[in-house]
């Protein structure tokens, strides 16, 4: 039994539920049987991958849905072996090059060169090119990105790239200028609610609009998350009721509690307790920037106007250091300590003003 997210994933451009204009443009794009390199970007859960698969299907037919998962090994010039898994059909291959860490450049180059050199010759039924889908390109090293530049031009005859990422700020301009950028905005609350309702209908269930909206809001406009939450609600209780509780993930509650503790008391002892909790979150693989933003969101609600500015500036400062640094915990803790100091000072000044 597969999850609703997978089971009801649209498979053709015609069936995409939102950004229909874009879908029809994409259809136009591949109608000539060809397309340029693409850079598909947008927040997570906005449906980039689904759109890409629909595009490939439009191009190659249902053959692209016969997927294989395989392990591949590459050897770097310094004779290091790298294992990496790929998903592929006869027409395309998908890889997350950041899995290869610092050797990502070697992996991409090898992969594209091999793919590009193997021609497809039954041109009557097939295209002259294959497609290489690279995910999370915003996590590629600069080295690998630079290496992509000329490769993209050189192997254009036999190979198209579809690059996929959340944030184009981290993609070097040289790559950007070689691609057609396709922005996939997150679906709106209304769009998500509608999709939830129609999905439930397909499952033979009746989802009240009120509950659908509630889930959509809680999902943070992330469709994948919304569908998962909706399915969880179904397990919890059916028939649905409009005021049914929508469970948040445990770690979110835990993070909120942690923020509460910070506001409650500002002391070295409390900082130590908070540190232990942050560790707990990190060991459960919650990304540090998500923790930082989650904390900020909660802490801010306890601050006054001017203080808010100061706090958000600090969050931005420490999150940047976190990206460059090695140990996330240092920077998260530094942010918490800084917040405690600012907050405490603010209150003490406030009290002093009273007298």
């Amino acid at each position: 039994m597969s999850l609703w997210v997978d089971k009801h994933r649209p498979t053709s451009l015609n069936k995409l539920d939102y950004h229909k204009d874009q879908a029809s443009r994409l259809k136009m794009l591949v109608q000539s049987g060809d397309f340029p390199h693409l850079l598909v970007y947008g927040p997570s859960g906005s449906g980039k991958k689904t759109r890409i698969m629909c595009l490939l299907r439009e191009l190659y037919g249902s053959g692209v849905e016969k997927l294989r998962i395989e392990q591949n090994s590459f050897t770097t010039p310094s004779n290091k072996k790298i294992e990496i898994s790929t998903i592929s059909s006869n027409y395309h291959i998908e890889v997350n090059p950041s899995d290869a860490g610092n050797s990502d450049r070697v992996v991409i180059q090898e992969l594209i060169k091999t793919v590009a050199q193997v021609n497809q010759l039954e041109t009557s039924t097939q295209k002259e090119f294959k497609v290489v889908v690279l995910t999370e390109v915003d996590r590629l090293t600069k080295d690998a990105q630079h290496a992509l530049r000329r490769t993209m031009e050189k192997y254009m005859a036999t190979c198209r790239l579809i690059l996929c990422c959340n944030s184009t700020s981290k993609v070097i301009p040289a790559i950007h200028s070689r691609c057609l950028g396709i922005r996939v905005a997150a679906p709106t609350i209304e769009e998500i609610s509608q999709i939830l309702q129609s999905t439930c209908k397909k499952e033979g269930l009746n989802l009240p609009l009120e509950l659908a909206k509630k889930i959509a809001v809680k999902s943070n406009r992330n469709l994948r998350r919304a569908l998962l939450m909706c399915e969880a609600c179904r397990v919890q209780q059916y028939p649905f009721s409009p005021d049914q509780e929508v469970a948040e993930p445990d770690w979110e509650l835990y993070l909120k509690e942690t923020a509460g503790m910070i506001v409650q008391q500002q002391s070295p002892k409390r900082l130590l307790e908070v540190r232990a909790r942050l560790y707990e979150l990190l060991t459960h693989c919650i990304p540090p920037d998500v923790i930082m933003k989650g904390l900020l969101q909660e802490l801010i609600t306890n601050c006054d106007g001017q203080l808010k500015t100061e706090v958000v500036q600090n969050a931005a400062f420490f999150e940047h250091r976190l990206q460059l640094g090695q140990k996330a915990i240092y920077h998260l803790e530094a942010f918490v300590a800084k917040f405690m100091a600012i907050y405490k000072r603010f209150f003490e000044e406030g009290i002093a003003d009273l007298f």
């Binding site: 000539s32 970007y41 790929t86 290496a147 530049r149 700020s169 931005a316």
Partner: protein
């Protein structure tokens, strides 16, 4: 992947049998293929004369086409100004199609170019002799050319190794280094080359080229779309051509409008930027938060947002010089942090709260 590659290679082997008898159909096929060539490749200058706007370097290269010697070359300048095209065109003209392979070694950032490769591959190639006569008896330059494209991504060590080869093989080999920033090339190499800066193409040059392509491809473009193309390409012809081709792919037969171009270029609509500036006047963190969040959900690039906010702030009438300088200082930090991979939401909030502060509480 194995299977993915296998299907391809098996076709490769069967095709060998097929191709020979049906050579007549292959010409038709190649015509079809030509349709799919990206315009940047299709309209790459074929000869040195086709290179627009870079007169200095063209003059030097033309002299060498007439038989005089060629210095080592260092091309630098922003992307899409014709650096790669120029040297490729010159090489083709110098050596013709047949000798190209034996006389030209092209290495770019996608090739392995560590110190060992420079020592071996480049050296071996450089050491091969080069005669001044073509196989067909015509004269040709008595040297080879090694093109190191995107040379700014080579390590300092590799560059040092290169320098030695450059000195040693100066009789038979010319080097052409290409980069965006000349400062990334070590001084001993830079000083051994004739340096040419490739200027960002002037607007009328860009426009002429774009019009030419429109004519050839039989597509129609409203006049303002050209302005939009110039506006978004910053003198980068590759970018302008790519945008044009993308737009025509999206539109089919329809006329291309300026909105199509802005959309493809990822430009944030002007109303959105205006709205952000407007909420910065509200002195409400919550309103700002909501607006920025909305734009993050819309997937607009953080870099693009701050660039466009910058353009508004700089010309703003209501902000004083001091306020502008404080904002621009923050903007520079945010730009750097984003390049380092910091979170877009947090960075844009940091910038916009600074703007809000300066608009609403500047005197404090």
């Amino acid at each position: 992947m194995q299977a993915f590659l296998k299907t391809g290679s098996s076709k490769l082997s069967t095709s060998k049998e097929k191709v020979t008898p049906s050579s007549s159909s292959s010409s038709k096929e190649s015509k079809d293929k030509r349709k799919h060539v990206p315009w940047v490749e299709k309209y790459r200058p074929r000869c040195v004369d086709d290179v627009a706007y870079q007169d200095e370097v063209v003059a030097v290269l033309k002299k060498s086409l007439e038989g005089s010697d060629l210095p080592n070359l260092l091309f630098y300048g922003s992307p899409g100004t014709g650096k790669t095209s120029t040297i490729l065109a010159a090489a083709r003209e110098l050596f013709g199609h047949e000798m190209y392979k034996t006389r030209i070694l092209e290495l770019n950032a996608s090739d392995e170019r560590g110190i060992s490769v420079v020592r071996e591959k480049v050296k071996t190639f450089a050491q091969q002799s080069a005669s001044g006569i073509r196989p067909d008896g015509k004269p040709c330059p008595p040297f080879k050319i090694i093109i190191l494209d995107e040379a700014d991504s080579m390590t300092g060590d590799a560059q040092s190794a290169l320098r030695r080869t450059m000195e040693k093989e100066s009789k038979t080999t010319r080097f052409c280094l290409i980069c965006n920033y000349v400062s990334r090339i070590i001084e001993p190499i830079a000083s051994r080359c004739a340096k040419f800066r490739f200027k960002p193409l002037a607007e009328d040059v860009l426009k002429k080229r774009l019009r030419y392509i429109c004519g050839k491809e039989e597509i129609t473009c409203e006049e303002e779309a050209f302005t939009a193309l110039l506006d978004t390409s910053e003198g980068d012809l590759r970018k302008a051509i790519t945008h044009l081709q993308s737009a025509s792919r999206f539109k089919g037969e329809e006329t291309i409008t300026k909105d199509d171009i802005y959309d493809i270029a990822g430009v944030v609509p002007a109303e959105v930027i205006d709205q952000i500036i407007k909420v910065c006047h509200s002195d409400s963190y919550e309103k700002l938060d909501k607006t920025i969040m909305e734009q993050i959900f819309n997937g607009h690039s953080g870099m693009q947002l701050i660039n466009q906010i910058h353009d508004k702030i700089v010309v703003s009438d209501e902000l004083g010089d001091k306020q502008k300088s404080i904002i621009c200082d923050k903007l520079a930090i945010v730009d750097k942090y984003l390049m380092d991979g910091a979170d877009e939401y947090l960075q844009i909030m940091a910038l916009c709260t600074t703007i809000m502060q300066q608009i609403c509480h500047a005197d404090k």
